[in-house]
């Protein structure tokens, strides 16, 4: 690795999906818009695992991000014929079924012989959860300190956030598609860099550089002009926004850019906004592989739509993995009505009082009733002024609690207000609010030694 050609070699990792539900066009545009080596697709948010777990309970062949199959179909030519490799945490709670679905699609597309899938398993702790608790792993809530036993009978899913090592193994074994379950978002980018450059697992600064690249890429276009407040009016051509690409070198430096001819913008401000997104203590950004120091990151403009990132340092990983647990936590419903000028806010406030009195008179109780006045104070609270001149105000009221019947009855108390409440009301065409089961998130830590991952190659 010491000759100058390998020193200067650039590996390009392209971000093609920032969450399950992101732009369906993005993966194909990333592999067709210019040269890339890896396509990274992030599908999992905190509560996604519980959604896919419910799907798997209904059908044992489901339980993964189905959008991924369409994404693969759209990039098969690049993967089969041009050597682009795909890394995705689309496997949800059923990465093996996900891999079989990709192989079936490859069959149909006539590229089956050119697809070699590495499937990473071992993150799913649900089948082992009682054994783990019995062994003394309390899986205490990271914020409240409560032991998991308080909600054990309501747990829907439990997955350890796993790091880059099994993905690196899959790549080393020749996979050109790697499918994981609850791998960290950042590992999807760091793993191919570790694989390509042969970085040692305890080369903390390099590991941290890979994680920072991953953090910049993990939310898709949010690093390349999407949701960018800085200079937002002048960000060009968002309709054709280019998703971010990391051009990485063996020394742990990289450039964030996007394909020529695409819209959006990669700039120091756009990348900085993404760096601070969902940040905790910047000195210790904790991952399974490394603790990265975000106060070490240096950014510099490197030409149009190019930002050079360097100087990153990191330290040893902790002995723990984070565990994402989802559990049933009651029921909720949210409904809205719109009140019009004059005195729109006053009318909306009166409607709220009337509704609450009726809920009280019905003997309904909830853990929380929350009313917001959209257009006046929903997102900024009282600091936004008194809403006196508002042409219309949306009253948005939500309830949550353990009693489904009470939440259900609440949903029937909104519509009557149209005829028997304050005047100038509209905006009820959406019908009764929907009662939803709350699947809440329980973050915990577990001793790393209790979790072992496994890689299978399917082709």
């Amino acid at each position: 690795m010491s000759d100058s050609s390998s020193h200067d070699r650039i590996v390009r990792v392209a971000s093609g999906q920032g969450f399950w539900g992101d732009w369906l066009e993005a993966p194909r545009r990333q592999v067709e818009g210019g040269q890339v080596d890896y396509l990274m697709l992030d599908y999992l948010a905190e509560v996604t695992m519980s959604i896919v777990q419910k799907q798997k309970e209904r059908d044992p062949n489901m339980g993964y991000a189905r959008d991924f199959i369409g994404a693969m179909e759209s990039v098969f030519p690049a993967v089969a014929d041009r050597g682009v490799k795909v890394i995705a945490n689309a496997g949800g709670v059923n990465p093996v079924a996900c891999a079989h679905a990709v192989l079936a699609a490859a069959d149909k597309a006539g590229v089956r012989g050119k697809i070699r899938i590495g499937v990473v398993t071992g993150d799913d702790l649900l089948p082992r959860i009682d054994a783990l608790l019995a062994e003394g792993h309390e899986l205490k809530h990271m914020e409240t300190g409560e032991p998991l036993s308080t909600v054990r009978d309501r747990v829907l899913s439990a997955n350890a956030y796993i790091g880059s090592t099994p993905i690196v193994e899959a790549l080393a074994r020749g996979a050109n598609v790697v499918i994981t379950g609850r791998s960290t978002d950042t590992a999807l980018t760091m793993a191919p860099l570790r694989h390509e450059f042969g970085w040692a697992a305890d080369d903390w600064d390099k590991m941290a550089a890979g994680i920072v690249a991953g953090h910049i890429l993990e939310c898709g276009a949010q690093a390349s002009g999407g949701n960018c407040l800085h200079d937002w009016r002048d960000i060009p051509d968002l309709a054709n926004v280019g998703y971010p690409i990391a051009e990485a070198k063996a020394d742990g430096t990289f450039v964030i850019t996007k394909h020529d001819g695409t819209g959006g913008r990669v700039s120091v401000p756009s990348v900085t906004e993404q760096l601070v997104y969902e940040m905790g203590d910047p000195h210790s950004y904790i991952t399974p592989d490394v603790v990265a120091d975000f106060t070490s990151i240096q950014l510099a403009g490197d030409g149009e739509n190019r930002v050079r990132v360097h100087g990153i340092t990191g330290g040893p990983a902790t002995p723990f993995l984070k565990v994402s647990i989802a559990y049933r936590a009651g029921w909720k419903a949210v409904g809205t009505l719109v009140y019009s000028w004059p005195d729109a806010l006053e009318k909306a406030q009166l409607a709220d009082r009337v509704l609450r009195e009726r809920l009280h008179n019905l003997g309904l109780t909830f853990d929380t009733i929350l009313t917001e006045y959209v257009g006046v104070s929903a997102t900024h609270g009282p600091m936004a002024g008194n809403g006196e001149a508002a042409p219309e105000v949306q009253m948005r009221i939500g309830v949550r609690g353990p009693d489904r019947a009470a939440v259900e009855r609440f949903t029937r108390e909104l519509a009557p207000l149209v005829l028997n409440g304050p005047p100038s009301v509209t905006g009820f065409a959406g019908g009764r609010p929907k009662v939803e089961e709350i699947v809440a998130y329980w973050p915990a830590l577990i001793d790393k030694r209790a979790v072992s991952t496994h890689v299978d190659i399917l082709e």
Binding site: L229, H230, Q274, V276, M279, T295, I297, T379, H380, R400
Partner: protein, 120 residues
């Protein structure tokens, strides 16, 4: 001199459970020391009085010209529990920019800070 945060910084916010994080970034590198000095944890905590149930933490990122604030208890439980419109804290980035900093005239002049309109 009164200086609107909106005129000297941009911001992005997100969530971790019931905590909103707000990253505030100086529009010019030379304005970062003004943020560090005058955009205090106490000022931000006061700004959100009654809006959040927990404390405010502040972290400095001089390398990015940015401060990171953690607003605990900001999201009605956060995630799927929350009944709020902004359950994931996406636009706390904009409410923080309503702040007006009181910066000594000589500091403001030396940094070239834009003065807030008179109404502030």
């Amino acid at each position: 001199m009164h200086v609107r945060l909106l005129d000297i910084a941009h911001a992005r916010s997100g969530d971790k459970g019931d905590t909103a994080n707000v990253g505030v970034i100086a529009l010019k590198p030379e304005w970062y020391p003004v943020l560090r000095e005058y955009l205090t944890q106490e000022l931000v905590a006061k700004h959100y009085t009654g809006q959040i149930t927990g404390p405010v933490q502040r972290f400095e990122l001089p390398n990015l010209g940015a401060l990171n604030f953690l607003l605990h208890g900001a999201l009605d439980g956060g995630g799927t529990l929350s009944l709020k419109t902004d359950a994931q804290g996406k636009v706390f980035s904009t409410s923080v920019l309503r702040l007006v900093l009181d910066v000594p005239d000589h500091v403001a002049a030396a940094a070239g800070l834009p003065a807030a309109p008179l109404a502030v």
